[in-house]
């Protein structure tokens, strides 16, 4: 492929990303900006940012590749990714925002008042985050090597460096702009070429073959097999071979292969005549690491499909980078509306990858054999349109693909670094967050160098399965069930998520070989591991009724009560406006926000729960000297309110500069002064 346009396009995307990030950095001045963008991101901007972050390499490249190789059954992936947001909306979105927690571990601690559960959740967040970062880095490597022949690791390193720099420098505020920008970039990068591809397809007489099964070669096509592979033929196949097949060397001979399994050695060149059905590749080609996932699909297609549906529908809510974004909404109602907007945006985006998959089956079917199916989206413009136009469109797609890696990787890094900073590193100040960022990126980068190629969409599917069986029960039961106990939550996460993780690891390690039903069970764990997680959580909780945290009723009230109850500042009956109160108007944020957080949390959850464990969180994450004065102020007036210290589980809204360090204690001591400020 001609790389003379593609490399500049990728470079342009990287530079634009850095510039947009720097723009965000210029207006990211407070600690609160840094972590949650001061919670003033309106639904429209936030929805674009969430979608930008969510549409990863798996969506941009992986789905088309999977559809090309395995047919329309794989369209369940985008459907599941979208419907996952619906399930998130139904049960989690608004209560999660109202919970005031910043990460999943924060949620676990706020709900269950248990450090143990918090640490366990943190471990799962980091695990899922790294499992999800890995394919992003690998996808970047693949893209760059397809475009320019650069070594495999280079793309991953570029993405890692750019992302670590942006996240460490600008935090959430920068990332919000970067991701919103990248959503529109990605949509454009698929939409414009798709338009021309469809025109070319129509000019071609609109052949309906892409929907036929199996795909066939339209014209004579010769394929070079780079890695050895096994062909599974259901019917005899005549092919011209230049290389070694089944241990016999050929030199441009026409060979009639009978039905059955054939071994093609690396370096062989196969030439298929027009109208030959594309043979199905077994091991070796696309999924070197998990040779049998494709097979177990063909053996248990229904089971596998339902496993996939369950994992994606329920797994979305537990993805660490998705959850963090909800805290940037100003309130629960905005969180809900944002989710609807996200559904619309990603639904629109997902109309495109199937198109590429279908056209790929028509125009580039041999990709199933060469193991570069993930590159189908990149190669199609050149293949179908050709010439300078094809090169330019290819460059656009390449830029979009890089945007996909950058945005998802930055969201994940943000989430993983947040957890590392809170729970692993000694202090929660911004410099430590920056250190956490480097750590969050270094590990998957090293891992991607070590383990080599997981197919992009598959690896993401694994992350979904683990998330669905650990975080989904925690969130759903935590929000809706009063009798959840810390031991129950811990056991459920360990049993559900742990078994999914083990099953996935076993499958990737090649156990148990040879297929069969046990194999399918392990390769698609969600169908049993999700109910197992829920069941364990419920049963252990019921068995330990004495351990229900004391403040449960108050906390659940806070999750579900609308914010307006307890906010006198707002006119009665009117919902808090969610007009995109954009972020540049940073100055008015504290004035509207601080009193609300100060009081709304308070009145619903003024109790008994031990203050000590949470107040730890509150001071140290933001720089202590700049504590939100209004919060401290109100807590003085009440007698003993833990609600306020819960609020503190979040970075506060007060701008750093607003309360002079020296003045803060006095202001806090005198509530009137604070209130009249």
């Amino acid at each position: 492929m001609n790389s003379s346009y593609a490399i500049p396009a990728v470079a342009l995307v990287v530079v634009a990303t850095v510039l947009v990030g720097a723009f965000g950095l210029r207006i990211s001045r407070t600690t609160s900006d840094f972590y949650v963008a001061s919670r003033t991101v309106g639904p429209r901007l936030n929805a674009a940012a969430i979608s930008g972050e969510y549409l990863s390499a798996a969506s941009f490249l992986g789905i088309a590749g999977l559809v090309l190789v395995q047919g329309p059954d794989m369209l369940w992936y985008p459907v599941g990714y979208t419907a996952g947001y619906l399930v998130l909306l139904l049960f989690v979105a608004a209560p999660l925002r109202r919970s005031g927690a910043y990460t999943l571990p924060d949620f676990a601690e706020a709900r269950l008042a248990s450090q143990g559960v918090r640490r366990l959740a943190g471990a799962f967040v980091v695990g899922v985050g790294w499992l999800y970062l890995l394919p992003q880095l690998q996808g970047a490597g693949l893209t760059l090597s397809v475009l320019s022949g650069a070594p495999d690791w280079l793309g991953g390193v570029i993405v890692a460096v750019v992302v670590a720099a942006i996240v460490a420098a600008g935090g959430m505020r920068s990332i919000t702009f970067v991701q919103a920008f990248q959503f529109w970039l990605k949509l454009t990068a698929l939409l414009v070429p798709a338009f021309f591809l469809v025109l070319a397809w129509q000019a071609d007489g609109a052949p309906g073959r892409p929907f036929d099964e199996p795909a066939t070669f339209r014209e004579q096509r010769s394929v070079r097999v780079d890695d050895g592979l096994t062909l599974k033929l259901e019917e005899p196949l005549t092919v011209t071979v230049d290389g070694t097949v089944d241990g016999r060397a050929h030199d441009g001979d026409r060979v009639a292969l009978p039905a059955g399994t054939h071994r093609i050695e690396a370096g062989a060149r196969l030439t298929f005549a027009a109208d030959t059905p594309v043979p199905a590749a077994g091991h070796g080609a696309d999924d070197a690491l998990s040779p049998s996932r494709a097979e177990s699909r063909t053996e248990r297609p229904l089971y596998a499909t339902y496993g996939l549906i369950l994992a994606t529908f329920l797994g979305t809510m537990g993805l660490p980078h998705v959850v963090v974004r909800f805290y940037t909404s100003p309130h629960g109602v905005a969180a809900r509306r944002t989710t609807v907007a996200v559904l619309g945006l990603i639904g629109a985006f997902y109309l495109l990858p199937p198109l590429y998959g279908a056209l790929g089956r028509l125009y580039a079917p041999e990709l199933t054999l060469t193991g570069d199916a993930d590159a189908a989206v990149l190669l199609l413009p050149d293949r179908v349109i050709g010439g300078v136009g094809g090169d330019l469109l290819g460059a656009l797609v390449a830029g979009g693909a890089f945007a996909a890696f950058l945005s998802t990787a930055s969201g994940l890094t943000m989430a993983v670094a947040g957890v590392l900073t809170q729970d692993v590193l000694p202090s929660r100040a911004v410099p430590h967050f920056r250190l956490g960022t480097l750590l969050a990126m270094a590990v998957p980068l090293a891992a991607s160098a070590l383990v080599g190629g997981l197919p992009v969409a598959d690896a993401v599917g694994l992350a979904f399965a683990v998330s669905a069986s650990s975080f989904c029960p925690l969130l759903v039961l935590g929000i809706w069930w009063r009798r959840l106990t810390p031991p129950g939550a811990a056991a459920g996460m360990l049993v559900g998520g742990g078994s999914a993780l083990l099953a996935v690891a076993a499958t990737m390690g090649g156990f148990p070989g040879g297929g069969g039903s046990l194999h399918a069970l392990l390769a698609w764990p969600a169908l049993w591991s999700v109910p197992l997680g829920f069941l364990t959580m419920v049963l252990v909780s019921l068995a330990t009724p004495g351990r229900v945290p004391a403040g449960t009723a108050a906390i659940l009230a806070r999750f579900h009560l609308p914010e307006e109850l307890g906010t006198e500042e707002l006119p009665t009956g009117a919902l808090p406006t969610d007009a995109p109160r954009t972020d540049t108007s940073r100055t008015d944020a504290p004035r509207t926000d601080a009193p609300r957080t100060g009081t709304s949390r308070t009145d619903t959850s003024r109790t008994d729960a031990p203050r000590t464990d949470t107040s730890r969180t509150d001071t140290s994450r933001t720089d202590t000297s700049r504590t939100d004065t209004s919060r401290t102020g109100t807590s003085r007036t009440g007698t003993s309110r833990t609600g306020t210290s819960r609020t503190g589980a979040l970075p506060t809204d007060a701008p750093r500069t607003d309360a002079p360090r020296t003045g803060a204690p006095e202001a806090a001591a005198d509530p009137r002064r604070e209130a009249t400020r």
């Binding site: 619906l86 909306l89 139904l90 989710t339 609807v340 809706w480 009230a557 009560l561 919902l575 003024r606």
Partner: protein, 131 residues
């Protein structure tokens, strides 16, 4: 400024022992003349059994909305794999439904749910604020 909480702090005198000062303050702030009249809002603030019942009723109505939407989603999506398995020749149908047909219903379902959930909350606020 009458809305200023610090002013009210001084003026409010209520029956002792029932509520924390700030809660009384807030719950009566809007209708200071309604002294002695305990509104649901106060019950929630003070976490009485009645207050819990109010919160529970809100949770139940929200959960019902969520489960209804989930059931619709299940009915919409659940039978599809079986259908496609039963009709192996209907590839074009599978492409059309999975590739293009499902997204609009998902968005519509989401919009329905949000409207319902927001209505539940409005009703609840109206109940609690005693209006």
């Amino acid at each position: 400024m009458p809305q200023d909480p610090t002013e009210r702090r001084v003026t409010v005198t209520g029956p002792p022992g029932r509520a924390l000062p700030h809660a009384r303050l807030r719950s009566r702030g809007r209708h200071p003349q309604a002294l002695g009249h305990y509104r649901p809002r106060t019950e929630i603030d003070e976490q009485t059994t009645l207050g819990h019942t109010y919160v529970r009723s809100l949770m139940r109505s929200q959960l019902r909305a969520g489960l209804t939407a989930l059931a619709v989603l299940g009915l919409l999506v659940g039978p599809l794999p079986l259908l496609f398995a039963a009709l192996p020749d209907a590839r074009r149908l599978e492409w059309a439904v999975l590739g293009f047909g499902l997204y609009a219903p998902l968005v519509l379902l989401a919009r329905w749910y949000v409207r319902r959930a927001e209505r539940n909350e409005r009703d609840f606020v109206r109940l609690v604020e005693d209006r």
